[in-house]
Point group: C2
Chain length 334, copies 2
Amino acid sequence: MSRPIRIAVDAMGGDDAPGAIIAGALQAANDEIEPILVGRLGIDPKGLAHVVADQVIDMHEKPSKAVRAKSRSSLVVAHKLVVEGKADAVVSAGNTGAMLAAGLVVLRRLPGIKRPAIAVVVPSRHEPYVLIDSGANADARPRYLLQFAHMGAVFAEEILELKNPSVRLLSIGEESEKGNALVIASQKLLAASGLNFAGNAESRLLLEHPADVIVCDGFTGNVALKTIEGTASSMFMALRDAAEQSPLTKLGALLLRPALRSVRTQLDPDTYGGAYLLGLRGLSVIAHGNSGPSAIANAIRLAARGVEHHVVQRIGERMPSRVVASARPSNSTE
Amino acid sequence: MSRPIRIAVDAMGGDDAPGAIIAGALQAANDEIEPILVGRLGIDPKGLAHVVADQVIDMHEKPSKAVRAKSRSSLVVAHKLVVEGKADAVVSAGNTGAMLAAGLVVLRRLPGIKRPAIAVVVPSRHEPYVLIDSGANADARPRYLLQFAHMGAVFAEEILELKNPSVRLLSIGEESEKGNALVIASQKLLAASGLNFAGNAESRLLLEHPADVIVCDGFTGNVALKTIEGTASSMFMALRDAAEQSPLTKLGALLLRPALRSVRTQLDPDTYGGAYLLGLRGLSVIAHGNSGPSAIANAIRLAARGVEHHVVQRIGERMPSRVVASARPSNSTE
């Protein structure tokens, strides 16, 4: 690369902003990655580039209203840097709804894209895979799921470096007749999509690499991911309590601690630091609200990787020819 | 009770039928519970009552077709015993879809009930609670969720012996504006229902007793429950692998084994052996397909408990007066 990849980082978004965000940006900065901090005048950018934005959108504001009303907010200004060609991607740990709204209003959708969707990397016990949509669209239609599948496939090809990734629909049984109306109608579109579609996957296998790309509406995806997180967390708490039973179980827990920690790390959906918001004319990475410095650094690296692999362009190339055309078969349910 | 509670048990349904079913029925049989085995002539009923049914519905048959075509199947005959007053409830570990179909066709819905739903007891780290619907209705409407909430509340009152049980909707955030169209429309009905409605619950807390009754459509409920099962199972497998790292971690795993086992038992959704199919004119309990003798015995006891507590009558009393009326407010979305 001739010049570093420039990532606009919303310094004001997240539970520990701006401290954790600036520290994370500093960790990620190197010859290839140039973070640009966007935030209030008073913050200490620690030698990184700093673009001043004097408004902040907080977690409790109504997303689309806040984005329209606060054009000088760190979130909106960071997005504008991408539109103006001053940054290659944007990262924020702020209000997810506001990220989605800023993506739609400032970056705008790629031609042919019905709805942007959030793609996350799920670690699993085996290889990592992509789950899309993890929460952008609580209500979806078969045509949207078809586009999510294509965007997820581009992500798997470019970011996970998989060839001809397998795609499955998240459902309540592997049989094609099992599912809700959305899943059943989407199967037909996916089967005719040219993607490597392998049918339905059950949520029982979500940590066992059910496919390279798992497609679902954002409500189901969000419920499933939070159930994984919650189950893991409840189990660790229950285990900690159970280990208090006797001196021997306490000793066992002590000896097993490294193994427990490795399981937690191996299956932790936060390993990748962030999720891509795909389907926009620029790359947007959403970090967890509670991100610490390393999670922010990972999110910035994830954004840089997407820029390097031209994820936005690759999705754009795919949409008009393959997806927009195939998204309107004569027997579509929509 | 003057006479024992009679439970019609489908001896032919389940992975290990009829052996495991007969053994389980034998375990459950006592002065208060009289299992009636329904199945082929050749089975050995071990001294229990036996009603002969010479057909079997297998796991791969189309449910409603099979129920209509096979009127002499063990599943259909077991349901008929309830209708004819020869049994007080029915239990099967067979095809869940066929159970639902037989419930609708043979037992039939209670007056005013739109859709029967499956209620399961979820153990959680604290007190157990009810999740409804865990899979009967992949597509639901706000009015159905309102009825599920009432049925779940009766279940919590009668089977878990809770007074004025709290009810929450499973969603992707606790805030009332978070959710899909179904959840958002259902909130209004639940808020006006007279139930102890406490808003939305996130799936992150499903093992932390989010409420006494969690209400959702059957697709979401099934995805969530199978995600819990799968996450727990994947974590135990990952832990077993990680414990192989060194002699010390192996020793740790050995010492911690009783604690691990107690966590597994504590959080295992199979503890209760079965799920109620509610909303019918008779009580129907669905056991897991892979049920062994103890799970079958638990399912039979669960059915007996429902009979003893008049769950069907209690639901029937509640429906016409409260639910059918309140299910049609002038601002209903349906």
